[in-house]
């Protein structure tokens, strides 16, 4: 009996020191499974995400919103599904979308996201017209100066779109003078850019601003929702999945078309990984208490 107990204690101690390799391998398997099996979640919208959704939903058809793709490839899996979902929502509500980026890395990613949704609507049988329903302005250097510039004179800041078209001539951008004509700016960011939008667009021009951020940075921007400086926030993969699920459902109902899901699949991996993490923490603590008990003895 005593021998047995000693063995158990040793085992409990051991599980508190699982080598990194096995922890990593376990996580890899758990992350991969839902992606391979394409298990989808049916998430329910969180409060901060719903604030953005409701705001867009309340805009009158014909309004213009602006998306800023201020992220690089690393944040793409989290942020791109958010952008896609918001565009789908906007187009279905008859809201027009302008895209731009403050980071060089975001140029190609923004273009890809915008063209993808345009393609989805074409496949669904409701083609969108470039220049009327959507416009991609591309990259503009200067960061805060660009944000301020839009508040002064939009056409001066963006005289041409990504393809070199004159923004004074395109149907969508023709009447946009400054922030007064933009109902909402949503900044998809992996860094500190929402702060610049808040400081320059919101503080100086009363522009409504929302943010879509990676989960790692989410807590940074939460204080700004409480103060009303952000109309809402999409935080990480969970928010992306919430919004995506909602827009996929809307498109299925209206067009009988299902866009390819990204975040609703990704969030299953994330949830499984979170459960795996909690199990590991529990194992670590069982081992810790076993060790402490033995030491006390």
């Amino acid at each position: 009996m005593a021998n047995n107990e000693k063995k158990t204690t040793t085992f409990l101690e051991k599980i508190g020191q699982i080598p990194r390799f096995w922890i990593y391998l376990g996580l890899l398997v758990i992350l991969m499974l839902p992606l391979i099996l394409r298990i989808k979640a049916k998430p329910r919208m969180g409060m901060e995400t719903k604030m953005v959704y409701d705001f867009i939903d309340s805009l009158p058809p014909g309004s213009v919103i602006m998306l800023s793709f201020t992220y690089g490839p690393s944040a793409r899996p989290e942020l791109e599904p958010m952008a896609l979902a918001i565009m789908r929502h906007a187009y279905m509500r008859g809201i027009r979308v302008m895209g731009m980026t403050l980071s060089v890395e975001g140029t190609g990613l923004g273009l890809e996201a915008m063209t993808r949704v345009a393609k989805e609507f074409e496949e669904a049988g409701y083609p969108l017209t470039y220049g009327e329903d959507w416009v991609y302005l591309g990259y503009k250097t200067g960061w805060a100066m660009v944000i301020r510039g839009i508040g002064g004179d939009f056409h001066e800041t963006f005289p041409r779109d990504y393809y070199g078209n004159d923004t004074r001539k395109m149907a969508l951008t023709r009447d946009i003078q400054n922030y007064d004509d933009i109902a909402l700016v949503i900044d998809f960011a992996s860094g500190g850019s929402p702060g610049s939008w808040i400081t320059y667009a919101y503080q100086q021009f009363d522009q409504k601003v929302a943010a879509g951020v990676t989960a790692v940075m989410g807590a940074d921007w939460q204080p700004y929702i409480r103060t009303g400086q952000l109309v809402g926030m999409l935080n990480g993969m969970k928010a992306a999945a919430d919004y995506e699920a909602k827009t996929i459902e809307m498109m299925e109902k209206r067009f009988g078309y299902t866009p390819k899901p990204y975040a609703t699949v990704g969030i299953v991996s994330v949830t499984w990984a979170q459960i795996y993490l909690i199990i590991l923490i529990i194992i670590g603590n069982i081992s810790f208490f076993a060790l402490r008990r033995r030491r006390r003895r």
Binding site: P43, G46, A241
Partner: protein, 205 residues
């Protein structure tokens, strides 16, 4: 001495006071001046890129000469000149080779580095979250509630979601604001020291 010490300190003092004052002046002339300053700083900053790239090239060439990390150094140099050359001479539009390399090499590499975070977070949490004392136990319980509450599990367990949101919006936000107030005061103090020329390490000690 004048050019390397006195002049920079005078410039910092004058520009520091102007920069501070600009915050309180909404007049368009002040905004215009601020924009001009930003443009200058962008233009001056661009020169630093040349110095930086020179340092990069010098370091890798030295490595190759000394036979240290030769393979990595060659990869770095080829990538640097190759991408710059492609961008300059073959264009950067959607169908260019530059874009293709960016999307198919850069994007996955960057995403891989970012995804390492998941592994590191798991390993760090496993090692660090031990209920050693009351504070650590509190931290542990809070972490578990927040992790579960903001995940899809919180979608069905409303109490868990509400508790997690309360933790994030009340105690978490309160501590964060506390730190931010300290940071804000520290930023002002450091700026004052720099403007008054007491703190000089920024110009090389």
């Amino acid at each position: 001495m004048f050019l390397s010490r006195t002049l920079p300190m005078i410039l910092v003092f004058v520009m520091g006071i102007i920069g501070f004052s600009l915050y309180f002046i909404p007049h368009p002339a002040a905004r215009q001046f601020e924009n001009t300053l930003s443009q200058w700083s962008i233009a001056i900053g661009s020169f630093a890129i040349f110095l930086a790239i020179t340092s990069l090239i010098r370091r890798y060439i030295n490595n190759i000469k000394r036979g240290k990390d030769v393979f990595y150094s060659i990869v770095a140099l080829v990538a640097l000149f190759g991408m710059a050359g492609l961008g300059l001479f073959a264009g950067i539009d959607e169908k260019s080779l530059f874009q293709k390399i960016f999307i198919n090499v850069n994007v996955p590499l960057d995403a891989t580095m970012f995804s390492l975070l998941a592994f590191y977070v798991t390993s760090a949490a496993y090692r660090a979250f031990r209920a050693r004392n009351v504070e650590a136990t509190l931290l542990l319980v809070t972490a578990v509630v927040v992790i579960l509450g903001i995940s899809t599990i919180g979608d069905t367990q409303v109490w868990l979601r509400k508790t997690a949101e309360w933790i994030m919006n009340v105690p978490n936000l309160a501590q964060k604001r506390g730190i931010l107030i300290g940071v804000g005061l520290g930023v002002i103090a450091t700026s004052v020291k720099i403007i008054l020329g007491i703190e000089r390490n920024w110009m090389g000690g």
